[in-house]
Amino acid sequence: MEVRAGLFLLTSVVLAAMTAGCASAPPEIEVPQDEREAARIIDPQIERRDVAPPKIDSENFEIGAFAGILEIEDFGSNPVYGVRGAYHIAEDLFVEAALGQSEAGLTSAEELGGNLRILDDRDFTYYNISLGYNFLPGEVFLGRNYALNSALYVIGGIGGTRFNTDDHFTFNFGVGVRLLATDWLAIHMDVRDHIFATDLLGRDKATNNLEGHLGVTVFF
């Protein structure tokens, strides 16, 4: 490294000396006055062109909303809705963050047991951060004239679920289809499993909470 720096310094000194020598040489040659005038007129004052990379509108972010059905283990199937945002890292890879909200229904015991109520709070909210992989890109044909770009993706990640006023560490995985209605508008169909452990019904167990939803997102 030092050798290279030394070499560079030496080269610079030699070059500087050479240019200084060249620059001081011309005045010694006798040039007639009118020729000097002409030289000044055509003095090539080229403006340095800016070669910065072109500014291009990058549309790697995606934001939108979704609505569907969430089947909360032991607590029935209920409507779910939420928002999602994604950042597309590469052609095949994206990261997604989602926030969802649902409300738990009644267990069979509650349905049959009259006034029996297991939960203090029936709200079910979750967030997750996931990594997605577009593994089957393609096109979907609508009749003879329209083709929508599509991609089938697998997605999985981690997050938290707040259910009955407690937070649970949650894994999620699933598959989805993204249909591009235009270059910037996408329609999503997703199936997702949210897995977390809870002792809500007496003993510790891992629960599978399946969700199916439809979503709309905008690229920007």
Binding site: I89, V95, P137
Partner: protein, 249 residues
């Protein structure tokens, strides 16, 4: 009253859709094809079929970019997607080869912003963090971290601000040291005991590793040793380990 906001929003949308595009019309960057052919795909992906080619010497406008694909418009108003590899073989109006501002090792050594996600272990519980960082020089950054700790007996939310020193920013993999402070809010699980929620101040010191992955991505592994300044007699000490993916800009 109820309809007014909707009418306003609708008007705003009409304004945006009708009036905004013309003002952008002349702003697209233009490049000249230098390869024998520039291939236009129907979509932004390697599998989408090529439906049109532009010959050498013709100019195209770059409308937008999605990951490594560029939507271009030809002189006869056709629009299609071109790969980054082919775009790099085109010429700018100045005659220079086209380049793009993608993340690179050089940029990594002197980036200004960073944001990422980490997950790991916080005293036996799971922790999920998001963080943002601003670098006021390549080796010194301010980190703002929000964490969610999900334990068997309690859950906590942490908000921290800290300073991280990147020891050798020009290396692909560099050690880091960090120092910071914040607050932690803890809620005991409702099924365990009738304990109260509490909020305490925390301070931490730590060390870690930062590594460049590819493009705009980096990996961060961090260890932090927290001290909780509780209102009780003794302070609590907690170890945290986490690993995550981040992006720099």
């Amino acid at each position: 009253m109820g309809r007014r906001p909707f009418a306003l929003i609708a008007l705003a949308l009409v304004y945006l859709t009708c009036l905004a595009p013309p003002s952008h019309a002349a702003e697209y960057a233009e490049v000249v094809v230098a390869d024998p052919y520039l291939e236009l795909h129907t979509g932004p992906g390697r599998g989408y079929p090529v439906f049109h080619v532009v010959e050498r010497g013709a100019a195209v406008e770059i409308l937008k970019r999605r990951t490594d694909w560029f939507l271009v418009r030809t002189e006869d108003r056709r629009e299609g997607w071109v790969s980054r590899e082919q775009m790099l073989q085109t010429l700018q109006p100045t005659g220079e080869l086209t380049t793009f501002q993608d993340g690179s090792r050089e940029h990594f050594a002197q980036h200004r912003w960073e944001a990422g996600v980490q997950a790991g272990d916080f005293d036996g519980a799971s922790v999920i963090s998001v963080y943002g960082a601003w670098l006021f020089n390549p080796s010194l950054q301010v980190d703002v971290t929000l964490s969610h700790v999900l334990g068997e007996f309690s859950n906590s939310y942490l908000a921290n601000v800290g300073i991280t020193h990147v020891v050798v920013p020009e290396w692909r993999v560099s050690p880091t040291v960090t120092l910071g402070t914040g607050v932690i809010h803890t809620e005991p699980q409702s099924t365990i005991a009738e304990l109260e929620d509490r909020t305490d101040q925390v301070g931490y010191v730590g060390a870690g590793v930062r590594a460049y992955l590819a493009r705009r991505m980096l990996v961060r592994l961090d260890y932090r040793s927290y001290v909780l300044f509780t209102s009780r007699d003794d302070n609590e000490e907690i170890d945290e380990w986490k690993l995550g993916l981040a992006f720099f800009f």
